[in-house]
Amino acid sequence: MRLSMNLELQDVPGQLLLALQPFKDNKANIISVVHHRDRKTPRGMIPVRFVVEMDRSKIEPVKAKLKECGISVVRSGEDRLLESVSVVLVGHVLDSDLGDTVNRIDSTGYAEVMDLSLSMTGIDEPSSAYLKIRATGKAEIQKALSILRDVGKEKKLLVIEPIETEAV
């Protein structure tokens, strides 16, 4: 899993190395480290943001070890939904059970509908909806779009997907 962690280090030599050691020992893959020397806290500490990929079970041992070394963990949390995609639906979006359409995405566990706006002109007129879907990765986005395509076919909705900006 991918995790972001905000730490605070003392402004003395060797602290960053000290902070990295527990991650190394627990086989975490460091994705990025941003060392904010310019944003010292009122207590004179230096904030550092880590993004790492590591086994869920190793989070607590890493935190404990950091604490032992005198490094404070200000925040740590899972970056679950990293990718997002916009989709527009046209047709009888509401009458074809919009709740069910959203649920088909939400129930996957790897993708969620995060934003939804609906535009309705008249009772029997086709309505239009904008959906923003977030998912845990690029592949999951594709899977979510594929689910939406199937739902579109089944409910006779026009599914308008974004253009691929890179060659596939």
Partner: protein, 335 residues
């Protein structure tokens, strides 16, 4: 100076444009060392034949050749009988059986004449046959005008980007659809309203289904797939959705989030469907413009845009093709 005898087959809007452009550009072509002589013009009513070149003044104001024809020869008969070096084929397109253009092109190629065309139908129906026929007879088949009108695409990929691996091409290949979607977005008017506006302006046909159902775009996708990607596919291989279901509300919702909805053709995916395109993307062009993004390995993404239709614009692409036939030097012929 190289003399080239040209026969024009088809005398509709594009045919008129070809006569006009060949006349206007006579001097430019001569400066290039090319003396293009239009020795015949043929349509469904007959042929105007003139050994020293057809006088444009005599035919330009005629809608058809019915009143000015000097011979009753038509179609294939005229193509094989008239001693020309190159045939410009611009008859109306038919994407189902390709006729009459397909017969015309076969007759021209088998009698050893180069073919330059804006007619999609025959290429959609029988590209590989026509290509083989051209190779067997040692002549060229050029069709830049079939995709994106005057926007350089096929020659850009075949000549300028030669050596690049082309991963894909995505773009707007139908000016009528793009105009309708643009107007619906700008004015918030429904599809039927924008369509009748386009019809009034002569941008859409009385029967618009060919454009708005995505048929035309799909034809272009087939031509690109076969000619640039060696795919050997048919019209039925393309997954097509047109723009008739698009509502002004959908366009407004998309716009609010920074997207335009455009009818996008995709090769090699072989799809034609309304697609969200970021407003800042260079392919999100408005009005009747066409655009294409070409994804390459060495040059990254290259985007072109230009007028996709129109009499003079299409004739311009035809002129470029004609000139390129005579300017092409084979690598092994240089030495």
């Amino acid at each position: 100076m190289r003399d080239v005898k040209v026969s024009l087959v088809g005398y509709g809007i594009v045919g008129h444009g070809v006569v006009d452009v060949l006349t206007r550009k006579k001097k430019v072509l001569r400066d290039m060392g090319l003396n293009l002589k239009l020795i015949s013009v043929t349509d469904h009513t007959g042929t105007v034949l003139a050994e020293d070149g057809v006088d444009p003044a005599k035919i330009m104001s005629e809608k058809t050749l019915a009143n000015v024809a000097t011979s009753s020869m038509k179609g294939k008969e005229a193509i094989t009988a008239i001693d020309s070096d190159l045939v410009v084929e611009v008859t109306p397109t038919n994407i189902v059986h390709g006729q009459p253009g397909l017969g015309h092109m076969e007759a021209a190629l088998t009698s050893g004449k180069h073919v330059v065309t804006s007619n999609k139908g025959p290429l959609v129906v029988a590209y590989s046959n026509l290509k083989k026929m051209a190779e067997d007879n040692g002549v060229m088949l050029k069709f830049e005008a079939t995709v994106g009108g005057t926007m350089p695409l096929i020659s850009l990929v075949e000549r300028t980007l030669v050596g690049n691996t082309i991963f894909g091409i995505r773009g707007i290949f139908n000016g009528t659809c793009n105009y309708i979607l643009t107007r619906m977005t700008e004015e918030g008017i429904p599809y039927t309203h924008a369509l009748s506006e386009a019809q009034d302006m002569g941008i859409a046909e009385a029967d618009p289904s060919y454009d708005v159902e995505g048929v035309d775009t799909a034809g272009k996708v087939v031509i690109l797939a076969n000619s640039l990607f060696d795919m050997n596919v048919k019209y039925s291989d393309v997954d097509v959705t047109g723009i008739t279901g698009i509502t002004p509300e959908a366009l407004a919702l998309a716009k609010k989030r920074g997207y335009a909805i455009k009818l996008i053709g995709d090769v090699p995916a072989l799809t034609v469907r309304p697609t969200l395109v970021p407003l800042a993307s260079p392919i999100a062009v408005s009005g009747t413009l066409n655009s294409a993004a070409i994804y390459t390995d060495l040059s990254g993404t290259i985007t072109v845009s230009g007028l996709g239709a129109g009499s003079i614009e299409t004739a311009s692409a035809i002129l470029t093709d004609i000139a390129s036939i005579y300017r092409t030097k084979r690598i092994d012929a240089i030495f």
